[in-house]
Symmetry: C14
Subunit: 89 residues, 14 copies
């Protein structure tokens, strides 16, 4: 029945669950960037003199892969801070 729960508490509770689900996306960039780090270390091991170029390319590619993790962070922060403020909660 949830009869004793106020609107504010209901929205805050759902937002907490939603923010948690949103963060699951972070396992994607985590796996992908780790593979990139491994390939980068392997490439440096084969051509140590090209370390600068390899590292720059790896970081550039990882930076793009990072974005969807940041999107999830943004949505989770909106869920926990911005949205409740706008709704006056």
């Amino acid at each position: 029945m949830l009869q004793g729960i106020s609107n504010e508490a209901f929205v805050l509770g759902c937002s907490a669950i939603g923010a948690g689900i949103a963060m699951i996306a972070g396992l994607g960039p985590g796996i992908g960037q780790g593979i990139a780090a491994g390939k980068g270390a392997e490439a440096v091991g084969r051509q140590p003199e090209a370390q600068g170029d390899i590292t720059r390319t790896m970081l550039l590619g990882q930076a793009v892969a990072e974005t969807t993790g940041i999107y999830s962070l943004v949505i989770a922060i909106i869920l926990l801070f911005v949205r409740p403020l706008l709704a006056g909660l």
Copy 2:
């Protein structure tokens, strides 16, 4: 029963859960772009003089892979800001 919950709070709560689920899609581009970053670093390690071309192709391909992550972000923001405004919540 949820008897004490207003319509507005119900829609906001569902939107919070929905936005969280939508963000899960972000793990796809995260894995894919990470693989691309790894292959890019590997290719640079083999042909350092072609770094410019490799990086440009990698970024171009990653930019397209980014799109579905952005779609999810857009839908999550619509769920949290635009839709409630239109419905007068």
Copy 3:
């Protein structure tokens, strides 16, 4: 019981969940296009002089892979804007 929830709020809430589920499809193109971007960068690293052809083929293939992500976006937008309007919500 959901006794205090109006029809409009019920449909809007279900639409929010449905739109979130629909966006999950975006992880498919994200992974696939990322693999394509990696293969493209690898191919350019092997044949830098064919960069134009490789990039064009990669982008063409990615554009087709993009489509199902766009379908999901379309259905999510219909769920959030078009359908409620038609039903007068």
Copy 4:
């Protein structure tokens, strides 16, 4: 209890969830066509003079892979527009 929900709202709510679930299928073509795009770019990188033939074969194969994504889109649109109209909702 859902006592206050009309028949129309119930069907529309279920259709919204069903349309969202149907769109999940889109991750299949997304992954598959991305693999095809990667293989295509790789093949062009090896035989740039055969780009036309490779691209045509890749697009033909991707077009067939696209179909199940389109089926899902069709069912989702039927769920949101055609079916409710027929039932007079």
Copy 5:
């Protein structure tokens, strides 16, 4: 309790969910046909003069893979149109 929901609305709602679940099968042909498209493009890249034979074999194989996607579409359409008509809904 669902006390206020008519029989017709209950069956239509379940059919909408069922049709959505049935469409999930579409991700199988999507992945498989995409792999076929990639292998086809690769084979054409190696033997451009056999493009006709390769494409024909690929399309033939994909056509068989398509069938289970079509079965799902058929069941979803039966769920949404044929069955309700027979039951007089």
Copy 6:
């Protein structure tokens, strides 16, 4: 409570969900036959003069793989047409 739902509607609703679940099996043949189509195209690319034999073997193998997809279709159709008729629904 589902107090207002007739026996017929309950069975039809469960059958709709069951038919949807049964169709999920279709993703297996879809993936498998797609792999077969890819291998077939690859084999034709290597030995174009054996196309007839390769295609025949591929189709024969795919036909067997098709069967479980057809079983699912049969059960779904029984669920939607035959069973309700026998029970007088």
Copy 7:
């Protein structure tokens, strides 16, 4: 509460769901036989003169893989026809 549902309808409804779940097993033989079909086509492509032997071995192996799909079909049919008859439903 399900207060208005008869015993017969309850058993028929559960059987419909159970038959659907049982059919999911069909995706196993579908994937496995597809892999077998691909390997068979590949082997024929390498040794066209041994097509008869290869095809016979492939079909024999696939026939064994088929069995669990048939078991599922048998259980689903028992669930939908035999069991209800025995229980007098």
Copy 8:
């Protein structure tokens, strides 16, 4: 509440669901035996003169893999026929 459901109907309903879940195990032998069939066809393609030995070994191995599928079938049949009889249902 399930107040109107008899003990017999409750047990039969649970048995139907349980039999369906048990059959899911069938996807394991399906995948495994399919892999075995593929390897067998490949081996015959390489050594057609050893077809008898290869096929015998493959069938022997598959026969063992079949067992767990048969166990599931046995449990499902017990659930649907033997157990209810013993309990006098």
Copy 9:
């Protein structure tokens, strides 16, 4: 509420579901033994004169892999026959 269900029916129903879940383990030996069968056939194809040794090793290894499938069968049979008898059901 399940108010009308006797203790015996409740335990039998739970046992039916539990037996079904236990049988899922059978997909593990199914996949593993299938892989073993494939490797065995492959090995025989390479060294037909060692067929006896290969087959014996394969069967020995498969026999061990079989055990967990048998454990599941044992627990399912205990759930359906032994336990209820001891509890006097």
Copy 10:
């Protein structure tokens, strides 16, 4: 409400479900030991004269892998026999 269910029946029902879930672990040793059996058969095929050593190592390794399957069996038997006895059920 489960109002009519005795404490004993509740614990026995939960134990039945718990024993079923515990047995799922058996799919791990099943897959792993199957892979070991395959590798063993392959190794014997390459070095038939070392069959004794290979088989002994394989069986030793499989025996360790068996343990977690036995742990599950032990816990399931405790759940079904030992625990209820201790609690006087």
Copy 11:
């Protein structure tokens, strides 16, 4: 409502489910140790004279992999015997 269930039965029931879930971890060591057994048999096949060293290393590594399976067993036994005793159940 679970109104007729005593505290002791509730805790014992939850412990039974919890013990079952904890045992699922056993599939990890099962797969891992099986892979180790396969690699060990393969290594012995290549270097039969090093069997002692290989087997010792394999068993040492497997013993460490066993630990998490034992942790699960420990927690399951605590759940079923130690904890209830301490709480006086």
Copy 12:
């Protein structure tokens, strides 16, 4: 009904679940960084004189992969400390 639960307890309970779900993302960086560590150790084994460069590249890549794990930690801490304080809980 949750009638006796205060708003504060409801929000704290949901936050606890949400924080737990958010931490699941940590398995992504864990897998990815482990792969990177393995590739790094392999590369050092091949080129011990380049250890400094390899380790620096590996750590740089892992540091980026770490970020999404940290995002999850941040959201979990916000869920458990910051948000409740702001809401005056």
Copy 13:
């Protein structure tokens, strides 16, 4: 309603479920350490004279991999013994 359940029993029941879920993590180290054991045995097979070094490195790496399994054990024990004591349960 759970009306007859005391606070202590509720917390103990939830802790039992939570401890079971926490132990699932143990399948990660189980798989990982098993792979390490396999690689170690393989390496010893290739370089029996380096067994000491290989085993030491393998055990060192496995010891680190063990940690997350131990964390889960610690949390499960806290859930079952420490926390209830502090709360006076």
Copy 14:
């Protein structure tokens, strides 16, 4: 209804479940670090004289991979000790 459960017990129960879910993340580092341990042992087997460097790189990489497992431990401990204290539970 949970009517007889105090706020404190509700929060403690949710925290127990949340702590269990958070620990699941530990399977990521477990798999990843195990792969690293395997690669490290392999590398030492190839270059025993570089054992120091390889082990140091492996441990450094594993230490970073460990972090997300520690984050989960921290959140679980906060859930079980710190948060309840702050809330005065």
